[in-house]
């Protein structure tokens, strides 16, 4: 088959039921290699999603060129999906992953699935994988396993970002604003979501032993590996890879595409699915 001619057209669309319709983008295979599984990419949330959006797009393109059906989508209240960010929750977003799984299964007519999750998307993907009989491999890219640490990191970035601004002056006048921020980097942070993030725990999660797992993180992210290794201790199919290029694609103002990382991820999926 001519590799330049796509089998289907890549297209944006809405799916799910109003008022919680989700925005999705289906990247069909660009070559017919008879892959037996599809891929769903689970994005980060808030500012981390804004920053990493194009890298996720590029990963989807790479996977579709490798012959996979790929679905990128926005959680409820995020990106182009219906709702506002402050209406979202980890429970809702995990449900959204299941909705996305059903959608790509219908579109691709395939039953097997890989999930790729970045940051909180990785944590949500693990949760969804526990309840889904269709997922047989999962990549967790710089996952969040310690919600408190995650919130602290975001608050620290926010402090640096607002240095010298009127907002910071307000915080100096009223320290309580700083202690209990109701927003993180331009997105509302409700007390309910904050609580959910603080309560993130892998202890209750029981992945099926046949699911293949790749943990993909940089040195900074590997600080969470203690939690992760407890989680994966008895998992027979767990790989761990430290990112060489150290690109933190979810961080403010980076906007660098780590092609070698994306190729590694695509190749891993290709290998475990063949």
């Amino acid at each position: 088959m001519d590799s330049a001619a796509p089998l289907y057209e890549a297209a944006p669309f809405y799916f799910g039921v109003s008022p919680k319709r989700l925005y999705g983008f289906h990247h069909p295979p660009q070559v017919s290699l008879g892959k037996s599984s599809a891929v769903v990419i689970c994005a980060p949330i808030g500012q981390e999603y804004i920053q990493s959006h194009r890298v996720i797009y590029q990963l989807a393109v790479l996977l579709s060129r490798a012959g996979f059906h790929v679905l990128r989508f926005d959680y409820f209240g995020c990106g182009d999906s219906e709702g506002n960010f402050d209406q979202g929750s980890l429970v809702q977003w995990t449900k959204d992953i299941h909705t996305a799984i059903d959608e790509i299964r219908n579109r691709s007519k395939l039953t097997r699935l890989s999930l790729i999750g970045l940051r909180i998307g990785a944590t949500l993907a693990l949760r969804a994988a526990v309840d889904s009989p269709h997922v047989d491999s999962i990549i967790v890219w710089q996952p969040i396993f310690d919600g408190r640490l995650y919130l602290e990191e975001l608050a620290e970035i926010q402090q640096d970002d607002y240095q010298g601004t009127e907002f910071q002056k307000k915080q100096i006048r009223d320290p309580s604003v700083m202690e209990t921020p109701n927003e993180i980097l331009g997105f509302p942070m409700t007390s309910e979501l904050k609580l959910e993030l603080e309560m993130i725990s892998l202890d209750a999660l029981k992945l099926r032993p046949d699911i293949k797992v790749l943990v993909f993180c940089n040195n900074e992210g590997s600080k969470s590996v203690g939690d992760l290794s407890r989680f994966l201790k008895n998992h027979p199919h767990a790989d761990f890879h430290v990112i060489a290029d150290q690109s933190e694609v979810w961080m403010l103002y980076r906007r660098v595409t780590p092609f070698s990382s994306l190729q590694y991820l695509s190749k891993w999926i290709d290998t475990v699915q063949s």
């Binding site: 944006p12 925005y23 983008f25 194009r54 797009y57 970002d161 907002f167 307000k170």
Partner: protein, 306 residues
């Protein structure tokens, strides 16, 4: 309210979302204003901090059809196949988006809204395309010129250093950059003594372009809103005010130009309070805009007031 995901453009590689108020009554075509939200740099069509989604929904509630999309190679849009430079392709693609919206909904009257480099595209398309009846420039950047550098220094001293105790200490203990202080003070004096000073230090072609653009807006009765965050680095509005002084004053006098300042926001309109302030400025201006163009305005005003 309804949102539709669409792929459009010559090879359907541009991707965007159209938002409308959900009445489905697009047959009253003459009364509808099409609003395009133009992205900046490599931004996705949800805009910085997802603010374009909020803005699109707010304006759709007022009765407008709002279209936000990614330029080629950004957001969900594919790359261009030709070698047109980005400075030109953004103009071409904005016009493709207007053509698409016109074909789809029948709207013939457009308002463009852009932030940062999206504001530059907004300005350029507003000059080039007579279908554009209004433009909103949010934090438009100033060109990298002598005047911009002078304004940056001036704003630093007059908005920040003057009120900072440590700067005064440095001044008294001979630790300041006196050359830079003098440059800022002398530029201030010169601008008082010679109102056209800013114009005289700028490249003539830049001055000419801005002046002619403003003259064209006045002839066509295009309305302009410039929204700027309060920061020493937000210089676009001030640049236009200094360089095209006469035309700026004339447009303001005739009600064609409005300016607003976001007191507590940074360049990408963070934090949340600044976003709300921006949404209010733009929606209030849209009400005025609709009153201004009375032949099409009743629908939007009714939508807002009910």
């Amino acid at each position: 309210m309804k949102e539709h995901a669409v792929a459009f453009g010559r090879d359907r590689s541009l991707v965007g979302v159209m938002t409308e108020n959900g009445t489905g009554n697009l047959s009253a075509k003459d009364n509808i204003t099409g609003v395009l939200l133009l992205t900046a740099g490599l931004d996705h069509h949800v805009g910085p901090n997802r603010i374009y989604v909020k803005l699109a929904r707010r304006l759709a509630e007022m009765g407008c059809v709002v279209f936000r999309f990614g330029f080629s190679g950004t957001g969900d849009s594919g790359p261009r196949r030709d070698k047109l430079p980005a400075s030109q392709s953004v103009i071409d693609e904005t016009r493709q988006a207007m053509d698409y919206l016109e074909r789809l909904t029948g709207v013939k009257r457009f308002i463009l809204i852009g932030l940062c480099s999206g504001a530059i595209t907004t300005f350029q398309v507003a000059v080039a395309d007579s279908r554009v009846k209004g433009a909103v420039l949010v934090n438009p950047p100033a060109p990298n010129t002598v005047q911009t550098e002078l304004m940056r220094e001036h704003n630093y001293y007059w908005r920040y250093a003057l009120f900072n105790f440590h700067n005064w200490m440095r001044l008294f203990f001979l630790q300041s950059d006196y050359r830079s202080v003098w440059k800022a003070v002398s530029a201030k004096i010169k601008s008082w003594l010679r109102p056209n000073y800013a114009r005289s230090v700028e490249p003539p072609e830049v001055v000419d372009e801005i002046t002619k653009s403003f003259q064209s807006f006045q002839e066509r009765r295009v309305r302009l809103l410039i929204v700027s965050s309060y920061s020493e680095s937000e210089l676009g509005e001030e640049y236009i005010r200094r360089v095209a002084r006469k035309e700026y004053k004339s447009m303001k006098g005739s009600g064609l130009l409005s300016t607003k300042v976001l007191r507590g926001s940074d360049h990408t309109v963070r934090p949340l309070a600044g976003q709300e302030e921006m949404l209010n400025f733009i929606s209030e201006w849209m009400v005025e805009e609709c009153r201004f163009g009375s032949e099409f305005g009743s629908r939007a005003i009714d939508g807002l007031l009910t």
